[in-house]
Each structure stands twice: as C-alpha cells, then as structure tokens.
Amino acid sequence: MEGSIVEMGAFIGAGLASVGMGGAAIGVGNVVGNFLSGALRNPSAAAGQTATMFIGIAFAEALGIFSFLVALLLMFAV
C-alpha cells in the first residue's frame, strides 16, 4: 500500500514535470518566431544570425529536456 502511494506520487510528478516540455516548446517557438520576424524585416542580416538562433533554440530546448529527464527519472529510476 505504501509502495503504491510512492508510485502514484512518482507518476503524478512525472506528469507535472512533462508540463515543462510544453514550456520549452513555447520558448523554442518564440525564439524562431522572433528570429523570423526580424529576418523578414532585414533579410540581409539574417544569414549571420542563424547560428545565434540555433544557440538560443538549444538553450530553450535544454530546459525542456531537463524536465523530460526529471519525468523519466521519476518513472523509471525512483
């Protein structure tokens, strides 16, 4: 009985942690959207900033991956 409560808590926690991935999705969309709106205003400067955009995507994505990792840890490793 006690073990199952722990299990339940772990699964609930995993579900909550997955919300963070949605946040990462919003963040990545925000980064790319803003890059695109800037790039359409000044297309000549866009090519030089693609690398910066990817770095930004990587940082935003990393936090989503962290929450995914927390979810996985709760599901499989706790």
């Binding site: 772990a10 990817f54 990393a62 991956i65 599901m75």
Partner: protein
C-alpha cells in the same frame, strides 16, 4: 516500477528503455570496462563511417569533386567556417578537435536512427565525457592563454560596480553548469526521440490505432533526422562559443 510493467503478460508492452541496454557482444554476462559491447560495435561502425566519408571519399583528390568527396568537403567547410566565425582565427588551431567531436556526434546520431541500431550518444556517460573534455580543455586553454586575465570572464566590467559580485556569482554558476547542460541536452534529445518512437511502436500492436501509430513513427523519424543534425550542430557551436570565451575572455 519498471519491473512490474515488464512482468505483465498481455496488453500493451512498453519497453521504451530496453533499446539503451548494453550487452556484451560475444556472450558472457559481465560488462567490464574492456568488454566489447554493442556500444563498442556501434562506436567502431561510427569510426568506419567517418573514415569512409572523409578518407575513402576523398581518395581521388579530384579537383572536380565526386558526390562523396563533396560531402566530405561540405562537412570540412561547414565546421571550418563555424570555428572561424565563432571562435575567431586563433580558434582554428583547435579545428581538428572540434571536427572530431562534430563528426563523431553527427555520425553516431544518424547511425542510431537505423532500426535495431544502438545510439552511443543517447548515453549520458558518453556525452558527459565529451562535455567534460570540452569543459576541461577550454578552461585549461583559457588559463594558459590569458593567465589570471581569464577570470575577467566572471568580472563583468560593463556592469555597475555594486552589481558585479552578484553577476560574478551567477557567471561562475553558469560556467560550471555548462558541461551539465551541454551533455544532458544531447543525450536527452537522443534518448527522448528514440523512447517516443518506441512508445508509438508499442501502440502499433493495437489494430485500431496502428495506422496512426505508423504515421506517428514516420513523423517522429523525420523529426529525429532533423534533431540528429541540429543537436550535433548545437553541441559543436557551443563548443566554439566556449572556446571563444577562453580565447577572448573580455566581453
């Protein structure tokens, strides 16, 4: 928990993590540090593929390149330009090292997408070694090139004086978190994509939703192809950014 999930006989069987298990290649059960395992096999295949692209492909040294040679030249030009643009001219000394990292990660990522293959880069142990190697070498390069001036990286002159200690603490923390995020990003991305594909593959056992599952696997596979390249690119460009910080610590 996972044990219970595996123990059930009927219904859907989700084993999304089984693909990451390391098995000894030639039988036996113990995995010592020298045992040839499936990880060894796929790393060896990675080396062979890299050699195939970069050495066999360019063996003709043609002025007008063949298809394989132009792939090798494209990879070379891509990383060379990245190092030059991000880390500067003096970063080009470390170009072979960065090229090694890029070629290993991108090849391992793509090889991992072959069905039944083992993805070396999905293991945190592997990516942590890569990231820590980058972290340590960048720190050493920074101190060797700039001496104590490397610490200017944490003491931001542009900020007002009262804020500087706080910023310094933040900068130090973010500096030491770098290898963590650097490694977990790559491993997490690879693991997540493969696990999601496996979950959809388990859904394919149900007749009613199997077409949807197959479609979803296809879509995920396409996304993973993109992710496989982008993560290698991101790992490499972050390496270049860290290298730039080491070579030119003043902001």
């Amino acid at each position: 928990m996972a044990t219970e999930a595996h123990g059930e006989g009927g219904g859907l069987a989700f084993h999304p993590m089984d693909q990451f298990i390391i098995k000894p290649l030639f039988g036996g059960d113990t995995v010592s540090w020298y045992t040839p395992t499936n990880a060894t096999l796929w790393m060896a295949i990675t080396v062979l593929v890299i050699a195939g692209i970069l050495i066999v492909g360019t063996s003709r040294r043609a002025v007008v390149p063949s298809r394989s040679q132009s792939v090798a030249e494209m990879a070379y030009g891509f990383i060379h330009k990245m190092v030059e643009d991000v880390a500067g001219k003096d970063g080009l000394r470390y170009f072979p090292y960065i090229m090694t990292i890029f070629m290993f990660i991108v090849t391992a990522n793509f090889l991992g997408l072959i069905p039944m293959a083992f993805t070396s880069t999905s293991h945190i142990g592997v990516t942590a070694v890569l990231a820590i190697a980058v972290f340590v070498s960048v720190t050493v390069i920074g101190f060797v090139k700039n001496g104590a001036g490397f610490l200017n990286l944490f003491w931001i002159k542009a900020a007002p004086l009262p804020l500087r200690p706080i910023l310094a603490i933040i900068e130090v923390i973010s500096y030491f978190v770098r290898p963590v995020s650097h490694s977990i990003r790559l491993a997490g991305n690879m693991m997540a994509g493969h696990a999601v594909i496996k979950v959809f593959a388990a859904f394919a056992a149900l007749l009613a939703i199997s077409p949807f599952a197959v479609l979803a696997i296809t879509a995920m596979y396409a996304l993973e192809l993109l992710v496989a390249f982008i993560q290698a690119y991101v790992f490499t460009i972050l390496t270049c950014v860290y290298l730039k910080d080491a070579l030119h610590p003043s902001h």
